[in-house]
Symmetry: C2
Subunit: 339 residues, 2 copies
Amino acid sequence: MTNGRKVKLAEVAARAGVSVTTASYILNGRSAEMRIAADTQERVREAVAALGYRPNRTARSLRTRRTATFGLISDYLAFGNFSSEMLAGASAAARRADHLVLMGETEGDPDLENLLIEEMLDRQVDGLVFATLAATRIAINPRLTGVRAVLLNCVDLASDTPAVLPDDLGGGRTAAGLLLDAGIRDGIYVVGEDTNPVAVAGPLRLIGVEQRLREAGREIAGVVACNWDVRPAYDAVDAWLAGGARPSALICLNDRIAMGAYEALAEHRLRVPDDVSVVSFDGSELAGWLRPRLTSVALPFHDLGRRAIELLIDPDLAADPMVHLPMPVQPGGSVLNRF
Amino acid sequence: MTNGRKVKLAEVAARAGVSVTTASYILNGRSAEMRIAADTQERVREAVAALGYRPNRTARSLRTRRTATFGLISDYLAFGNFSSEMLAGASAAARRADHLVLMGETEGDPDLENLLIEEMLDRQVDGLVFATLAATRIAINPRLTGVRAVLLNCVDLASDTPAVLPDDLGGGRTAAGLLLDAGIRDGIYVVGEDTNPVAVAGPLRLIGVEQRLREAGREIAGVVACNWDVRPAYDAVDAWLAGGARPSALICLNDRIAMGAYEALAEHRLRVPDDVSVVSFDGSELAGWLRPRLTSVALPFHDLGRRAIELLIDPDLAADPMVHLPMPVQPGGSVLNRF
């Protein structure tokens, strides 16, 4: 650019004393094919540098049919640090493949979802990631039929579109394993049963916990139901403890539930981990802020974003249409080792 | 698309029994100009509907020189809910102007920043937002000279590029005003002095607090220095209280500091707000999770993202190159009303 004005190829050609066509051939790497003399090539490159000419990527995409962008549509973008980690993972993976990410937020509105998909297809994205911030079963938008697409944190059991999800069942097994490995075998309660019929995470985490305990010959002592947030969890655990419950460990189905449980335990003069061990899910920033630091089985949102884009780049990476990513332990000091 | 294959304009033209040029004129709204008969127009529209033809937006942009995208480059994308709120605000504002947002994360790497700017300019974005997640003074990237750009949450005092920032000074005044309005006039301490030389938020918040107290004939009783996170704040406030300090109120320079202060106060058997009132800054989700709910002067990240895009769309909106957005109070129960 000179003075904010876009330099035209014609100006490059004029300065180099060649035709626009010749300049175009040179800049598109086709000099050999056209037997263009080396000194002519050199003059054009000098003109490009002198004028600050920037090739028109849009024009180029007409030839290659690739605009080097992926689309990422999510129901919600403002959702703690999860969506930003997912976007960061997607953005980094796209960049490694010389792509940028066009993003859109549906706010859960089906009309807006339709519009965003149309707009991204209009812009000829090389593929689309469709994400939900809470793991759910969905019916895939029919506009995505025949389009290179990957579902992120959601799944349509009636569709062959690849889906990338956290391995919540494995995560549940991991959480139970943390307690068993610390010698805690009885009085293990789960806090935060999830009754949303399309929810995926809660039920799978619970099944994973049950499976792992059963393998060790143990079982869940009971389930405390509550909504998945700090205050409902505080209220539920407070009332439950007031009724005389004395757990040895709580498996909280997310970190916000664990924060509420911490507070209710403190209210009842029960110390974490000396009196009650706590493990949780999500691995959010919050887990690191609590005292003691909360041991949490983490949602791999950065990896989910990264993997979804990698599957767009190379669909053969998915041997199975559903890819489950492991949930790593984010260690803390909330589990008492009884050994 | 039919079977995932892109329908060509030539197929539309063939089905309608017109030339490709005629079909193109009709679909670009130039029928009147070319005196194309109404029934011909109708036939083309029917063919478009029957074949599911999607006009090639990339081709269109060659004529209009607009690809209908804005770029948003941020140093970090995974930064609590701030970046996701900013992106959501930017995305919604862009959509209202029929634009989508291309995003990129520099991870604080200058080479990556250069690369992302180049790539977005190559893709002919209609403008670029350059954001930092912590409010800072920066030297604007020379590649943005002559480009339509807006700085978000950062400022270059040597540049005329418009900058959108939270009004941290006004926010500081607001925080002090909350205490004065509740009848708290003495024993007001600030926790979390920020000594980073390029930081903008902390010093301005502190000046705002000082200004407002001075107007009421009062002053800050003292400042407790600590890094801006939960554990350093806990340690600093704990040590300070152990030394005999008895504040009537704490103004914590962010919510994570306030969480640490809450814990240290509890450790010393000081209740919030009965013994010590607490106000804070950021208005993050965390403020709503604490007990009692923390009164916090909120960073308007959604509005910052929205306004930055609006300034790209219409630069005349910025009467001044620096736009300061108000920081609204996110009310809680952490301030005792002494009246």
